[in-house]
């Protein structure tokens, strides 16, 4: 998949031996990403909130949380597949 330098070139130069991915390869490999810590808009938090306190902002805009209605059950954080939601205790 990736271009590799001939053996003669490797002996005579300091060029990179294994080349990088081209654009289509990079896009293909990126599909394996589990999106750790980054929201990829699977809608789980939006769907599992018993209080409808998660507001969907639309494609690419992710979500907002309406803390007036949030009861802090933590279902959104539990069901988030990439750990992008953290529940923190409120400071008094």
């Amino acid at each position: 998949m990736r271009p590799v330098l001939d053996i003669i070139r490797r002996q005579s130069t300091f060029d990179e031996v294994v080349g990088g991915l081209d654009e289509s390869n990079a896009l293909f490999e990126a599909r394996r990403c589990l999106s750790c810590g980054n929201c990829f808009e699977c809608d789980n938090c939006y769907g599992v909130c018993p209080d409808s306190a998660v507001i969907k902002l639309g494609a690419g805009k992710r979500f907002a949380f309406n803390y007036d209605y949030c009861k802090g059950c933590g279902l959104c954080a539990e069901e988030c597949p990439c750990g992008a939601i953290v529940v923190e205790l409120e400071e008094k």
Binding site: Y46, V48, D51, G58, C73, L75, A77
Partner: protein, 334 residues
Amino acid sequence: METTIKFYQTDTFTVGNRLLSEAERSVQAGMQRTNALNSGHRACQGCGEALGARFAVDAAMRAAGNDLIACNATGCLEVFSTPYPESSWQLPWIHSLFGNTAAVATGVAAAQRVKGTKTRVLAQGGDGGTTDIGFGCLSGMFERNDDVLYICYDNEAYMNTGVQRSSATPPAARTATTVPVGQHPNGNVFGKGKSVPLIAMAHEIPYVATASVADLRDLEAKVTKAMSIHGARYIHIHVPCPLGWGADPAHTIKLARLAIESGLFPVFEAEHGEITGHRAIREQVPVEDYLKLQKRFAHLFRNPKQVEVIAQLQAIADRNIRRFKLLEKRGAAV
């Protein structure tokens, strides 16, 4: 790029899935969902019933073109959603008594027939209002084949009045009226209770299904299918109750999932009294995984560990798996 390798998952548990076409996406993923049970209701943290009710009624609203009337039995769902004079419901909604929801729904459906309107009728209640108190009216509604979709949200006890045992409470569970005492604390006794989905099937009504908040797509598909049929229909939805079960509010979905995957809650559907499909177990887990997360089963794990009781519960799960063929690949219907 030509390739046969697929990294995309389309058969997924996630609520939304951008890889599916708009039409295939779940109701809950849509920004236009009805939010039939809206924010501001007074349910506990992580309430499974509030979640299940929104899932089911939103799907029914879409299927009915937002032309729907709901009748509600007394219970948690009624109490937390409509403390007078407030209401969280975004659709016409009526509550009369604990035991007569099915009869009220029958009347509402009859009124629609007389008036010649196409408004669909939904009746809903908890397991107490369905399996115990409202059972006579429910059976009558099935027998007359009234055009009502009855949804039971099963949280396995009377949670609203303080966690008393109902006929849907599982064996060995602790409730306020089945307190485990003595040297071999057992909780609720084995060999009692009933399965209302199976009783509904015995009425040979057009559609009976069980569903769970853990599998949203399956739930929505069943509600949508039920709404496409006229006549008496029954859907039994398993909804964990963090308060009554003594569980972490964040574990609501996880518990519902473990109940399916262990075999303790069989998810199937039936038409005219015959089972036509089931949701297969993806990865079987021992019942202990499910029991350990709940304080209502904590007496089974204290010294000495009640190995025999756990084995009896495992036997129930194994029997469900055999009976509903839960390990076989998903049935054709869903």
